[in-house]
């Protein structure tokens, strides 16, 4: 109840502030004091919302309130101090641009995420995983392949992106290849660590059944490794997106989020740049969220999930 009242005050405060800065004339020091007070109240609100029990909408309330506060402050500060668009556009300008450039944003999303990121992520995580299994299966390879895997997989994007463009052309496959290179290593390292996580007694049990390597893997060691594997899947989700976007910097067709960001940035159309960034952030978070959700369902037994 008190929280509701607080929320209402904060919303009213920000509405007034935004209207104030958009109105002609310089905001006075009194106005700034009001804005500072509203921001303080907003922080308190976020804290209260974060302490709410429950799993449903309550879990979303805090981050949303936090985000809305940041956006409101951003709008007020950028408009209030008349920061040029070339340095930092206001959220309202970004929103307007997102609406007017929706078809371009969609086209770029298809090119970068649906094609390059998804393909690269699947192949990269898959191959890191398989490499870990292979190294685990053949001790000889473990000792030989892992150091070299480290070597190859720790290559910087900036270096491989131009080479991938040379090898795989300008379209999305070269971006996917970069994503593969970026996501491979986290998956390799985490899977190797995870495969070592099964308990000694449980291994002995499988041994006493003369379970084959594959059976032990499938029935014991992979389930025990899942928390690690999901850590990699989660880390890789935003990483893959960054990789694809950065790779487009080194040659691309004339669509794609990275293409748009760099060309528009050079023209100082920062509203469009931020529109793409918003899309990237939303897509990256959703991708991560999806992985986290699957993790909760699959590793329900792990203490970190059971609580």
């Amino acid at each position: 109840m008190r929280t509701g009242l607080l929320a209402a005050v904060v919303v009213l405060g920000f509405v007034l502030a935004i209207a104030g800065v958009h109105a002609p004339g310089e905001p006075g020091s009194l106005a700034w004091a009001g804005i500072a007070l509203t921001a303080g109240l907003a922080a308190w609100l976020v804290k209260r919302l974060g302490d709410l029990p429950g799993q449903g909408w309550q879990a979303l309330a805090a981050p949303l309130a936090f985000g809305a506060t940041i956006l409101a402050l951003w709008e007020v500060l950028v408009v209030g101090f008349e920061v040029p668009m070339a340095l930092m556009p206001a959220p309202s300008a970004i929103a307007a641009r997102m609406a007017s450039g929706a078809h371009l944003l969609w086209q770029d999303f298809v090119q970068t995420f649906l094609k390059a990121v998804l393909a690269g992520y699947a192949i990269g995580c898959g191959s890191g995983f398989l490499m870990a299994l292979l190294a685990d299966r053949v001790p000889f390879l473990r000792r030989g392949l892992l150091p070299i895997g480290n070597l190859v997989a720790a290559l910087p994007v900036v270096g491989i992106a131009p080479i991938m463009v040379m090898w795989f052309g300008f379209d999305w496959p070269s971006k996917a290849a970069v994503v593969v290179a970026m996501t491979f290593f986290p998956m390799l390292v985490n899977t190797v660590a995870g495969l070592a996580a099964a308990g000694a007694l449980e291994r002995d049990l499988m041994r006493s059944y003369a379970a084959g390597h594959g059976q032990t893997l499938l029935l014991l060691r992979l389930p025990a490794a899942l928390p690690f594997i999901f850590t990699a899947l989660k880390v890789n989700a935003p990483l893959a997106l960054i990789g694809a976007i950065v790779a487009e910097f080194f040659g691309s067709p004339t669509t794609g989020m990275g293409f748009r960001i760099t060309t528009e940035a050079a023209r100082l159309a920062l509203d469009m740049v931020w529109a793409e960034i918003v899309v990237a952030a939303v897509v990256g978070s959703a991708f991560y969220g999806a992985m986290a959700l699957i993790e909760r369902r699959v590793t329900f037994w792990h203490p970190s999930v059971r609580g």
Partner: protein, 287 residues
């Protein structure tokens, strides 16, 4: 393999100690387990630990052997060596005429560990079905056998629970069901009934005895309960610690039919007393 013990009452004393260094059972053709001068030393950061030293024993097929001895004397280690979970550092061991490794690969062992070792991501039923799945049984048969075994250990109704939702004793019973479900030739049980109350324990003792009597599996059984050892075994191996070694092997010819009431008979008590003395002798707490 025939039952080698004499029928009840045919001899005056049914309890006889075998000479220490040849733990040979009277009429053994090919022993199920044969250990010769077995020893095992663990290397640790602060010096070696002599977990087994010069262990000699022959176990005939179909025997029910109990290992008894003070905590830390090497009972678990001996079981682990038999099951090929630990390599001896000296001596020799054969299981069914082959190495422990070959026996393990032939899936001869059913091992009940001292701790339950259930997989948290599997339901109780899933845990009991684990070895059956590994042996490649059909799903229907797996479920049928798991159901039976869970009923045997009185866990019917808990099939769909996860291990952390069970009490300690229930987890241990689930782990017993898991080892029984898969009907191994050789049953290795490490204090399987330690966490159970007297009544369940008696019940499971009877069940185990029945199972053993009908299937004639070879059983190696670790327990701390002298009455339990006497009630179940054909022979009782008494061990003593540091270095872990066999101090006595007590024959226990109570015959195959053992109602619970046998525990009040003088023969029973005499054997128990003998084991108790052996145990006390090898113990550092005496006096």
């Amino acid at each position: 393999m025939r039952w080698t013990c004499l029928p009840r009452g045919s001899r005056f004393s049914k309890c006889r100690s075998a000479p220490r260094d040849s733990g040979r059972s009277p009429t053994v053709a090919e022993p199920a387990i044969a250990a010769r001068n077995l020893s095992l030393v663990f290397r640790t950061n602060d010096g070696p630990v002599h977990a087994l030293s010069d262990v000699n024993i022959d176990i005939a097929p179909g025997e029910f052997i109990s290992l008894i001895g003070p905590s830390g004397c090497g009972k678990t280690t001996l079981l682990r060596v038999i099951a090929d979970l630990e390599k001896p550092t000296g001596g020799e061991i054969r299981v069914n005429g082959v190495t422990p490794e070959a026996a393990r690969l032939a899936r001869d062992y059913g091992y009940v560990f001292q701790a339950p070792a259930l997989f948290p991501w599997r339901t109780i039923e899933g845990n009991v079905m684990l070895p059956l799945q590994i042996m490649g049984l059909s799903k229907a048969e797996r479920q049928e056998r798991a159901r039976q075994q869970l009923a045997l250990v009185n866990l019917a109704g808990f099939e769909r629970k996860f291990p952390w939702q069970l009490s300690g004793g229930m987890q241990q019973r689930a782990s017993i069901a898991r080892a029984l479900a898969f009907e191994p030739k050789l049953l290795l049980m490490d204090e399987p009934f330690g966490a159970l109350d007297e009544i369940v324990r008696d019940h499971l003792n009877e069940q185990l005895l029945k199972l053993w009597a009908t299937t004639r599996k070879t059983v190696v059984f670790v327990t701390h309960s002298i009455p339990e050892a006497v009630f179940l075994s054909t022979r009782i191996v008494v061990m003593s610690p540091r270095p872990g070694r066999i101090t006595d092997i007590v024959d226990c010819d109570l015959g195959p039919d053992r109602p619970l009431e046998i525990r009040e008979t003088p023969e029973f008590l005499r054997i128990a007393q003998r084991v108790r003395e052996g145990l006390r002798a090898g113990h550092s707490y005496e006096g």
